[in-house]
């Protein structure tokens, strides 16, 4: 309750306070936020101002989906190296960070959305992709769309600990938000695919997700005249193809599934009032004593690396026969050795791809942006709240000796935990809601 009130307060401050035009806080500046600005020479100032201009451009363009997004550089604005050794006075007992924390990419504003060279964004693609995202006819039984498990009202996840999956099945992993997924180069919880296009393909055809047949989908679209026109407009193609379906959906996600208006983003852009005092303390903990930044680093707040957290098992796997089916099925279709299949009792994450024992249970670090809307958390949805997540890390994760060495007991005080939570909540901007579009209909051909 308290943190919710603080969040509201922080929002209203954000909305009413004039934007600080003096300079842009980059990472080092953030650390020094409460004591004024760090020392910088004019060259640094110029760089950061450019970064600010670029960042706010991107913010504006993402709000209205401009065609020129595609044309822009995908390079992140330059960021100074983090200065984690600076004493900022925001916390009385910030642990001296170890070298791991020193060398990680700094937090910062999201760069422009990366766009693959073979799929530049256009408004026509975005408009088409928006329709397709909501269209059940991309699934086998025409009963499931992308939006079934990536629901605007549920943070573009599905609000379940473990996703519902295709009819007649239950999925085995948490449905991740599609917000800011455009920034990842490793999609899905175990980073199985490299692009949004590939992600959409796996989701549409996966037997526990869309169970779609690609040729059936193409033929369905071919008998929807409005789609035929939209594909022609977007791609100059005389018939809708599955590859173009993927490109359109990915373009829609790159254009409209971007959140970069969080209080923390405002703070990074120079509005030092955008974060509450508690959130600022939380930021310091995030980068220091709580060590979150070891993995949740860079503008995306994910190192896109794989880590084993030794999370508690989700009890659903003991209670729901269809979850057990899904878990064994995953082992089976990914081709694990028989003894691994026979003993399957948990999601093996990266192991499915590499078959290396050391990769068992390792999952790709998720972003922390937009997390206010995306509970429950973790690949198996085992934590219902941000506070649960913090407690898990505070106790040093699980018991498994081979869990990531980055995870150690943190000895956070209750105040520190709530400050950290406060900071984490500041990573979510306004909720992105997209009206469910009216979908075009099948039309019979003229018969002689």
């Amino acid at each position: 309750m308290v943190s919710a009130l603080l969040r509201t307060l922080s929002r209203s401050q954000l909305l009413s306070s004039p934007r600080c035009k003096l300079l842009v806080w980059c990472f080092a500046g953030c650390l020094l936020a409460t004591s004024g600005c760090g020392k910088k020479d004019s060259a640094t100032t110029e760089t950061t101002e450019k970064a600010a201009a670029s960042a706010s451009d991107v913010a504006r363009s993402s709000a209205k989906v401009a065609n020129d997004v595609a044309a822009k550089s995908v390079t992140a604005p330059g960021q100074p190296k983090p200065n984690t050794t600076a004493s900022d006075g925001t916390s009385s007992n910030v642990a001296v960070p170890n070298s791991t924390l020193d060398s990680v990419p700094p937090l910062g504003p999201l760069p422009e959305v990366p766009v693959p060279a073979d799929n530049p964004i256009t408004q026509a693609k975005v408009d088409l992709g928006r329709l397709l995202f909501f269209d059940n006819r991309l699934s086998g039984d025409a009963g499931t769309s992308c939006a079934s498990c990536h629901d605007a009202r549920l943070g573009w996840g599905d609000g379940q600990a473990i996703s519902r999956g295709y009819a007649g099945t239950q999925h085995w992993r948490n449905s991740q938000t599609t917000i800011n997924s455009a920034f990842f180069t490793k999609l899905f919880w175990a980073g199985e695919v490299p692009s949004l296009e590939a992600q959409a393909k796996s989701a549409i055809t996966g037997n526990l997700a869309g169970n779609g047949d690609t040729v059936m989908i193409e033929e369905r679209l071919a008998l929807i005249p409005e789609y035929v026109d939209l594909f022609r407009e977007a791609f100059g193609s005389s018939q809708p193809s599955f590859d173009l379906v993927l490109k359109a959906i990915a373009s829609f996600e790159r254009a409209e599934m971007i959140s970069r208006d969080s209080p923390f983003d405002e703070f990074l852009a120079g509005d030092k009032d955008a974060l509450s005092e508690d959130a600022k303390k939380g930021l310091a903990l995030f980068q220091g004593k709580a060590r979150c930044i070891a993995c949740h680093n860079g503008p995306l707040m994910s190192d896109e690396d794989y880590h084993f957290l030794d999370l508690p098992q989700n009890k659903l796997f003991e209670k729901d026969p269809l979850r057990q089916v899904a878990l064994r099925y995953q082992h089976y279709i990914r081709g694990v050795p028989e003894d691994v299949y026979r003993n399957a009792d948990s999601d093996l994450g990266l192991y499915y791809t590499t078959k290396k024992d050391s990769d068992r249970g390792r999952f790709r670090t998720p972003s922390l942006r937009y997390l206010e809307y995306t509970a429950p958390y973790m690949h198996n949805g085992v934590f219902g709240t941000v506070e649960d997540v913090i407690n898990f890390y505070d106790q040093g994760g699980g018991d498994e000796p081979n869990q990531s060495p980055l995870i150690q007991p943190l000895n956070l005080t209750e105040d520190e935990k709530s400050e950290l939570a406060e900071f984490l909540y500041s990573l979510s901007g306004s909720e992105i809601r997209i009206q469910t579009p009216k979908l075009p209909e099948y039309q019979a051909v003229a018969v002689d």
Binding site: G143, Y166, G168, L208, A326, I333, N343, V445
Partner: protein, 365 residues
């Protein structure tokens, strides 16, 4: 001189008997036996699987959805319903006597001698059950009663090959029982009515049905066009047309999008003169499997007889043997009576109560 005539006569007799052997239909005959013994445990397991919707992608339809005992092991509708979200473009044939035929599907693309492959095709096809076999296995493994039954039927746990073999065993077990016409052929003169006997004569004679519906299965197992126009519903209903397009595209028919007639055998052979040729179906059990023809456009046996009597359909692909027959109303009725004598007593199968999913001990797979 007389020797020459004698030799010529012998040659002519030989030649004409060869010609007769090539063109004359095979004799009608009693239903052959399966020629192998089915394992009762496999048949029992297959029966359950046949009725189990967990063999479909979304676990809502089973084999029995379209091959229902109440409809002569077909579905009683013109065009088959298909997987949810799709609608099919052909009529569901009965599976009774499936193991005794030569080829399966209206285009004959699979052999009856390999029913497990036929079952596999149905489970995996996007317009039928749209299921991944590996998912079906894991579902079966989540049902302890199935684990027990697979063990007793196959000596091992559920596996895809075993699933296919079990369903195939059950399908093989579905053969006509106590068919009046077979009893008649075996010497029981009273087994069929006088009308049916007259109908049999018309079948073999004036109506010429036997030219294609010959032999023990009353099918030559070959492909013909009756000149039928397509059932317009296939193109009036976008979902049927979509399935039609996808099917022929998948089988490599180049003009699938412009096509407004079932390509028939052509989709298998890609030989031009095989266009629109459809496999002759068996007439056994025919009175139970209305509506008729590959796209179900004729609702009754009377309509079928009337169709042939009027010389078939208008398409240019029509077989030359399909010509107006000049049958009287009585002759047509007799013919229908004969056709009815080809069905045995109903094959009644109690719909099995399906064993439920149970929890397994996690990690003990």
């Amino acid at each position: 001189m007389s020797r020459i005539f004698g030799t010529l006569t012998i040659l002519l007799v030989v030649a004409s008997s060869v010609a007769r052997a090539q063109s004359e239909p095979r004799l009608l005959a009693v239903l052959p036996s399966l020629g192998k013994t089915l394992d009762p445990a496999q048949v029992d397991l297959g029966r359950q699987l046949f009725f189990d919707p967990r063999l479909s992608g979304d676990a809502t339809i089973s084999c029995a959805t379209c091959h229902s005992p109440e409809h002569g092991w077909a579905d009683g509708i013109a065009l088959s319903k298909g997987y949810p979200g799709t609608r099919y473009f052909r009529n569901t044939p009965t599976i009774v006597n499936a193991a005794l035929g030569r080829l399966m599907y209206w285009d004959g693309r699979l052999p009856s001698s390999d029913l497990p492959t036929l079952v596999r095709d149905h489970i995996s096809e996007a317009h039928f059950l749209q299921a991944d076999g590996r998912l079906v296995i894991e579902r079966m493994r989540q049902v302890p009663e199935y684990e027990r039954q697979f063990n007793s039927a196959f000596g091992g746990e559920p596996a895809y090959g075993r699933i296919l073999n079990a369903v195939a065993a059950f399908v093989s077990s579905l053969t006509s029982q106590e068919v009046p016409f077979d009893k008649f052929l075996a010497g029981d003169e009273a087994a069929i009515s006088d009308e049916a006997k007259r109908g049999l004569a018309i079948f073999k004679g004036k109506a010429g049905c036997i030219q294609c519906h010959d032999g023990a299965m009353l099918s030559d197992g070959k492909f013909h066009s009756l000149g039928l126009n397509a059932n317009p519903e296939i193109f009036q209903d976008p979902l049927r047309h979509i399935t039609f397009r996808r099917f022929f595209r998948t089988l490599g028919v180049p003009d699938y999008a412009a096509m407004r007639h079932d390509a028939g055998l052509y989709c298998v052979t890609k030989v031009k003169h095989d266009r629109e040729l459809i496999r002759t179906p068996t007439l056994r059990e025919v009175s139970k499997t209305a509506p008729y023809m590959h796209d179900g456009q004729l609702p009754t046996l009377e309509a079928v007889v009337s169709f042939y009597n009027s010389g078939g359909g208008p398409r240019a692909s029509k077989d030359a043997r399909v010509k107006p027959l000049g049958l009287t109303d009585v002759e047509q009725a007799d013919l229908v009576e004969f056709l009815k004598s080809l069905s045995g007593k109903p094959i009644e199968v109690t719909k099995p109560s399906l064993p439920a999913y149970q929890l397994r001990k996690l990690g003990d797979n």
